[in-house]
Subunit: 245 residues, 2 copies
């Protein structure tokens, strides 16, 4: 493919096609650095804004990734972590087997707020606030998302203290099996990242993310945990098991 | 927020922020048309390429939508169709209750090809090719995705003929209950749309889509259907039921 300066197709759009073609052909391999803006300007006799716009759009589309201070790279989808047997339960805090395997960003007690009201919808009767627990999600050793759980304080009044004391999970949930997640739902959508989310995940502002929310109920029929997850879409393939009941 | 021509932040990036601010404030309401490029150039004393780049990136990010011949609109997430009890089974062709409720784009017999090899992975022993069935997925009365099923011809040799004759589904699967989907998996990822997908879904080329693939096995333990789904991410919230087994 050659660029045509007399075409009605804008030059930046032609350059996008050219870069995509080079990626498809393997000239620019996944994970490798593409030539700098200046080198592309020079090679193809293009202006800087033209090259910048083509690259900016390919970054917004997830084809290219800018690594600060290093350059522009071809996104490497082969590096996507496949998360097998993914479900709301695999993201549940209450169902974690071994706390020591998981980093916690924070745990704090919060009152009902806009987010908990939205997650817990029209459910009344949860008094005493929630434990709000933030933790990173990793795959292939890389940060791929963030996960926030809300757990009613009235069900697990000593949760923060137990965690601080380093109690094993099996002791934390002892005698509370009726309060562990058993059923629920998981809503999934793709939306633009919020500012804080983008910062945390180290992606462009308003880049698309996979956003999930889940409400889990216990065997006793109570809501025992609400979860909100935001995942880098370039980092994960979710593999759900499906069983027809 | 005011644009600052002496800032080190490029003007198009400042304009993006300004447009996002106006959307957040409700000046540009969801679903409404924003001012044309020319009007924005005029109002803010900007060049056409600057305005075009800001809008192009916001379109790539799914914030704005270009409707051909009409203008540029703020994406309306409130119009997202929520698909409840979503699962691989709800997308299965073999499990459709009433064929008359569903439009089929095409049904044809195909041999093994690159796509079936990939979907059916290392499974050997499927002779005689597949029925390849394409159909649109709709939500809230709008096209939100496309769905392709592959069904081994050896299990349902008369499928195309039965459909052509208008046989009800209950007759098509009669005596074949052991071949209906019972278990499986569903892999989900977000990736850029291919050219044909973008055309079909009427979205920008390389806009992000939700891509899913599923392999379903029957009670008899055979693979009876493979499904490939591509969804417009702006059009759907998937609501999975979750049961801990």
């Amino acid at each position: 493919m050659k660029l045509d300066k007399h075409s009605s197709v804008p030059l930046y759009a032609q350059l996008k096609e050219l870069i995509l073609e080079r990626i498809d052909r393997g000239d620019y391999a996944p994970g490798s650095r593409i030539p700098s803006e200046l080198v592309l300007c020079d090679e193809l006799d293009l202006s800087r804004p033209t090259v910048r716009q083509a690259i900016a759009e390919l970054v917004a589309e997830g084809v290219l990734i800018i690594v600060k201070g290093k350059g522009t790279y071809v996104a490497d989808t082969a590096e996507q972590a496949e998360i097998s047997k993914f479900s709301a339960f695999s993201c549940s805090f209450l169902l974690l087997k071994n706390l020591a395997d998981h980093k916690l960003d924070s745990i704090e007690r919060v009152d009902s707020n806009e987010e908990t009201d939205k997650l817990f919808a029209n459910i009344q009767g949860i008094q005493g606030g929630f434990w709000q627990i933030d933790r990173p999600m990793t795959g292939n050793g890389q940060l791929i998302g963030l996960c926030r759980s809300y757990i009613p304080v009235m069900m697990f009044p000593d949760l923060a203290e137990d965690i601080r004391l380093g109690k094993p999970m099996i002791d934390i949930v002892a005698n509370k099996y009726a309060y562990l997640p058993q059923k629920g739902n998981l809503k999934l959508q793709v939306r633009a990242a919020g500012n804080q989310e983008a910062l945390y995940l180290d992606i462009s502002r308003r880049a698309p993310v996979i956003a999930m929310s889940s409400i889990l109920t216990s065997r006793s029929g109570h809501i025992c945990e609400a979860i909100r997850i935001v995942l880098r879409p370039d980092a994960a393939i979710l593999d759900f098991e499906q069983n027809r009941l």
